[in-house]
Structures are given as C-alpha cells and as structure tokens.
C-alpha cells in the first residue's frame, strides 16, 4: 500500500505539470511549442545516458550483497573502517531511508556516528550516475568534486567522532 502511494507521487507531479501546460496554453498558446521543443531536446540528450545508468545499476545490484556488507561493516576497525564507510556509501543502492534500519543496528553493535555520517555522505556519490554528470559538467569537474566530497565525508566523520567522544550526541 505504501509502495503504491509512493509510486503515485511521481505521476501526480507529472499530472500537475501537464495541467500547468494546459492552463498556460489557454492563456498563451504561442509559448507551448517552444517549451515542448526545448524539453524534447533535453530528452534526446538524456535517453542514451539512461541506458548506461541502467547497465551500471544492474552490475552494482548483482555484485553487492547487503547481508554480507552488513557483517563486514560491523567487524571492521581503524583506517579500514573509514575505507569501508566510503566504499560502502558509494556502492550502496536504493533510497537513503532504506539504509537507516541497518545503520541503527550497526550503531547498537558499537559502530560510531562518525562511521555512519561518512557512510551517508558518500551515498551522494553514485557511480551509476557518473555518465550523466560528465555529460552536463565534464570529466574534470566530476573527478574533482568526487575527491573533494570523499575528503569532506572523512572530515564530517571525524567531527562526529569528536562530538560523540565529548558526549555531545
């Protein structure tokens, strides 16, 4: 039931946009064709990239086992732990809130908030979506942003470890 509701939100959104087009069409019919032409140009650009994204998503889904990942995350320590938080965050798929229960379990097992913060921050880096990002912003930009975000995620993790250490959290 929840799933049905969630999947309908997108369709409602599309319906609102179509209604908006109809309203504007009634007021100013001359702008509708340029709007559609512009949108069509974007569609043509993004469709081939979608095929690549789908392929990459299938590869990640096929090779990453969430149960094994959970066991590994709970046992690791030291530098390895940060690396796992980074890689785990990057390769994790699905909506962010789907990972909250697993992270809660890990927290109960003694994993720090720093680890969780780093993991969550790295979820922003999506290998499957990199082709799309390169298409819009270029390879150099994507590489720099990815590296800066990984460094940022470690800094955020360290901040949370300090906060947790001083009983702030």
């Amino acid at each position: 039931m929840r799933k049905t509701k969630k999947s309908r939100v997108g369709w409602y959104f599309l319906l609102i946009v179509i209604i908006l087009y109809l309203i504007i069409g009634v007021i100013r019919i001359d702008v509708i064709l340029p709007c559609l032409k512009f949108s069509l140009r974007i569609f043509k650009n993004v469709i081939p990239i979608f095929a690549i994204i789908f392929g990459l998503m299938v590869i990640v889904e096929y090779f990453v086992d969430p149960e094994k990942a959970k066991k590994y995350l709970g046992k690791s320590s030291g530098l390895k732990r940060w690396l796992i938080a980074i890689i785990g965050g990057i390769i994790s798929t699905g909506a962010i809130y789907m990972w909250y229960p697993m992270l809660r379990e890990l927290k109960k097992k003694g994993v720090s908030y720093g680890f969780i913060a780093t993991f969550l921050y790295n979820r922003a880096i999506k290998p499957a979506l990199i082709p799309m990002m390169i298409f819009y912003f270029g390879l150099k930009y994507v590489i720099i942003l990815t590296i800066v975000m990984i460094i940022g995620s470690i800094i955020q993790g360290i901040i949370f470890e300090k906060m947790e250490g001083s009983d702030f959290l």
Binding site: A124, I144, L169
Partner: protein
Amino acid sequence: MDKRLKSALIKPARSMLNSLPILVGIILLIGLVNTLIPRSFYAYLFSRNVILDSIIGSGLGSIFAGNPITSYILGGELLKQGISLVVVTSFLVAWVTVGLVQLPAEALLLGRKFAIWRNILSFIFSIVVAIITVLIWKLL
C-alpha cells in the same frame, strides 16, 4: 534465468520506472521555465556574492528531493542560464547530502541530535565543497 540476475534486473528497472514520471515532469517544467522566465530573473536571484548565492543554491538543493539525475538536469540548465558553477555545485551537493524530507525518519532511527547536526553540517559542507571544487577546477 538466474534468480539473482533477475532480481538485479528488476530492482533497477523498477527504480528507474518510479523515477520516470518525475523526470518527465521536471524536463517539461524546465522547458516551461526556460521559455517563460527571462534570464534577468536568475541574475536578480543570484547576483549578490558567491557565499550568499551558494546559501540560496544549497537551500534550494536541501528542499528538493528525489533522484540525483533530476538535480544534474536542473543544475546543467541553471549553468546554461549563466548561474555560477559554485552556486550550481552547492545546489547539487545539498540535493544529495541534505535530506529535509527524510529528516523525521533519520531522527527516529538514528537519533534526533545526530540527524539534525548531520543535516546542518551537510548544508555547510555543501557550500565549502562547492567553493573548493570550483577553485581546484579553475586552477587545473
């Protein structure tokens, strides 16, 4: 077909199918906005200074939620409208790191203090990450 492969094919297909109406809607909306809103509006919205513009960019990115692809399309179009790369980057980073929509769920499962502070820090980081990224990008 191998059960695991079947699942690996179905999940991404379902995920993309769920995102499809939002993406189509966003692209249609971009077409509408691009045609109806004059470029001078963006110049008015983002013309103060890098920090203030980035705060606006991060603010917008924090409010919006959904597939990051949508943010790339929006960000790419904002860039074409002449918005600075720092602002667009802060928007992209906030979109994926700050989750106001998910905040209640995050607070419930991972702790209220943690969830609030993580989102505040991620908001600040989105601006810092954007400035550093663009600085390095310009230098290289």
